[in-house]
Every structure is written in structure tokens, then in C-alpha cells.
Amino acid sequence: MTASVLARPRTSAAAVPARRPRRRLGPGRPLPFGAVLGPLLLLSLWAIGSAAGWLDTRTLSAPWTVVTTAGELIADGRLQDNLAVSAQRAGLGLAVGTAIGTVLALLSGLSRWGEAILDGPVQIKRAIPGVALIPLLVLWLGIGEQMKIITIVLGVFVPVYIHTHNGLRSIDSRYVELGESLRLRPGVFLRRIVLPGALPGFLLGMRFAVVGAWLSLVVVEQINSTSGIGYMMELARQYGQTDVIIVGLVLYGLLGLLSDGAVRLAQRKALSWRRTLAD
């Protein structure tokens, strides 16, 4: 690396501001717009396939048809209405599930009794796919909003619990010792050492939870629903409207990407103290 720097002509070396040399191990510098490169490629393949007539419109509508359909759905307000309903369900389920997962993780991470009582049941729940519980939930709660939100909550709280609990348990014991040597009060210990120490785990759990929330949403909305994006798509299936189905899929995808992006942003902001491989 030194050799290549030396070999570079003097003028260009002076013109380029001193840049960080690339880390020899690790993935290297982030590409500009790297995140959208893959999706753009897929999109262009789809467009080419439709234009060339390789894709039957009954199987898969062309991108421009999907765009027009989306425009119509927005114009008559169906898209917004269904989106609002879906977003509300997912948001509520995510909020409640995150709260439950976090509290359970704290209880079981900070006390042996809590762990003995809570950890087993959560691990059992983890082994049962959320979808498998729907018949039981429908019997208990009917097919109303309550059932839908509880299904989402059940899909969300498990990853939040698992990763927060793991984060708590893997806090370096040397920091606990430090807290003891400073005679920190339990509240200060929790606020300054335990919670920040478990934050990376919690945020990782959130990333899984967000994905889980949309996943559960899709399932509950397509099974028995009278509103929401999933319902809109289910209706379109009955009329064979692939364009509407794709609008729904794209929406799900965008929502998933956006929410994951939001969590990642939060991660970057909250964990700026960390030096990792990706930096």
C-alpha cells in the first residue's frame, strides 16, 4: 500500500485531500448509492422483459401499468385508506410488542427468578410460528382488530426479547465490577451501564421485529380482513388484477425498507460510540 502511494504522481497526491487509507481487512469503503443498485437492476430487467413481450401481462403486469394503477388507486383514495389501516396495525403491534419484549428481557436479564419463570415460555413461543397460533386466536378473539394486532405483537416481542436479553447477558462483567467499585446506586447502574450496554442487542432485535411486524401483517390481512393492503391484494386476486397485487407488494416492500432504514439510522445515531468493521 505504501508503494502504491509513493508511485502516485505528486500532483494528484497534492490535489486529493488526505484520504483515509482503505482498511486491508473488512469490506472497504461504502459505494455511493450502493443500497439502490440491486433494486434498480431488478427493475430494469422487469421493464425490459415487459417491453420485449417476454412477460405475459396476465402473469405479471408491466411496470408502467403498475404505476398507472397506483395513480388510479391514489386518485380514488383506496390506497391511502388501506395503507393507513395497515400502518396503524403494524405500528400498534410493533409498539406493544417492543414494549413487552423489552420489559420481559429486563425482568429475565436482571433477575434469576425472572429468567427461570420467563425465559422458558418465550423460548417455547419462539419455536411456534406466529401463523400457527392464528386459529386459536380467532377462536378466542374473533376476527376483529384485536386478533390482528395480537398476532403482530406475538411476532414482534420474541426477537426483541431474545436480542435484548442476549445483549444484557453479554455486558462485560468488568463493567459490572466497575459499577460495584464506584458503589453506583441500582438506578444509576441500570441507566448508565445496563441499558446502554444492552442497546446494540435491542436495536438488532428491533430490526428483526420490524420485519416480523410486516410479515405478520401480511398474513392476518390476507386471511380474513375487510381493509388494509393485504385485503386490497386479496380482492385483486379474485379479479385477476396482477397490477394491483404488485402495487401491494411494492408497498409492502417499501414499508419494510423504510422501517428497516429507520431502525438502521437509529442504530447509527445511538451507537456512534462504536468502532466496527463497517466503519
Partner: protein, 244 residues
Amino acid sequence: MATHPGGLTGTRTVRTRDLRRGFGDRLVLDGLDLEIGAGEFVALLGRSGSGKSTLLRALAGLDRDVAGSGAIDVPEKSSVVFQDARLLPWQHVLDNVVLGLSGPDAPQRGRAALAEVGLSGREQAWPHQLSGGEQQRVALARALVSEPDLLLADEPFGALDALTRLRMHDLLRELCRRHRPAVLLVTHDVDEAVTLADRVLVIDQGRITVDTTIDLPEPRSHRQPRFQAYRESLLRSLGVETEG
């Protein structure tokens, strides 16, 4: 300045009687008696595995899971400096310093403590942005900001290079002169012990076997003939033969 083992002058701050600590069948501290006077700087030497850290952790109250017995009398206000700086990576430097403080004047005291260790202006840095020596200085500031009566330090400079270590010696001496805590400094470096301490102890077989008052004028240096004499006698009691 030096206090004699029996505590002829000054008041005792640390006192242990018949201290025993063991892991499994092995007794690491075997009826250890120790006294440290107020403001006295004591260095503790000993072979690796002789129980220096075990003793220090016992004094710091960090060994609740270790089997043992004996009486320990230490001041309420005591601080520990570990071999690693042990800064919380998710807290800014200043927040690390004031971690154990409460009250509205905490930030101000933290700033003053950082200034004392020469780190003014680095209050809002992350710990990973500091060098090893700077991190250890933050740890010193954190230990001294609470104005402790006893400072317990377990090889605090062990991970630093020789040059930085010399600077840290000056800093520690200066800080101790100003704040006058009693100090128990665990080290494996005989020169460090003779340079800094009023009294040097050697631990062996679970007891204090050597207790030497270092009676040298400041500033101490290798060139003082009596420095060499202390050094050699301590090395001998550690089982190291020196030539000359």
C-alpha cells in the same frame, strides 16, 4: 512523610487481620495482616500468582464470591484503578469521570479532575478516541474526583509503554501529593515501587514477608546509591538474583 508499619504517626485507614482467601483447596491469602496509614503510599510487590490482585479485590470489596475470612477495615470512600482503564465505551469522557458522582456540581468537578490529568478539552471525546495513556489518565481522574481516602490500583500502568509510564509516575505522585489519599499500588515493577512509595511490601505464600520503609529524598532517581540498595534487596526477596 513515611509512616512506620505499626502506625506510629498518623491515623490508620486500612487494617486487615488474619485475612484468608482461597480458591478451591488453595489458600491464596493465608492469615494476612496489613496496615496502611492515612495518606501513606504503599506499593505491593510479589511474584505472579502470589495473591496481589486477590488482596486488592478483597480490600475493594469486589470478591464476594471468593471463600475466605478475616477482618477488613477500609475507609468508606475508596476508589479503584484497574489495569485496563475500564472506561464505558458508550459514555463521553466527562460522563465516565463523573459516573460515581451525584449532585449539580458533578460536571464542574469532573472538568476540574480532567484538567488535573491534562485532558482539558477532551471532555466530549469517546473513550476509543483516546490513546492508552490518556484512557488511563481518565481512569485516574475518575478515581480521584470523589476525593477518596484510599486509592487501590492494580498494575495501573502495566499496559503502558516505558515512556508513558514515567509520565504517569510523575502525574500520580503529583496527584497524591495534592489529594493525599492512602494508596495501595500493586505492581510488578520494583523501580516503580521504589520511586513512588513511602513503603514497599512483598507478598509471598499468602502473607506480607517484607515491609520496607523507603527513606529517600525527592526527587528519587536511579542514580541515588540507596535507591539501588532498596532495589536489589527487594529483587532478592522476590527471588531474582542481581549482579553486583
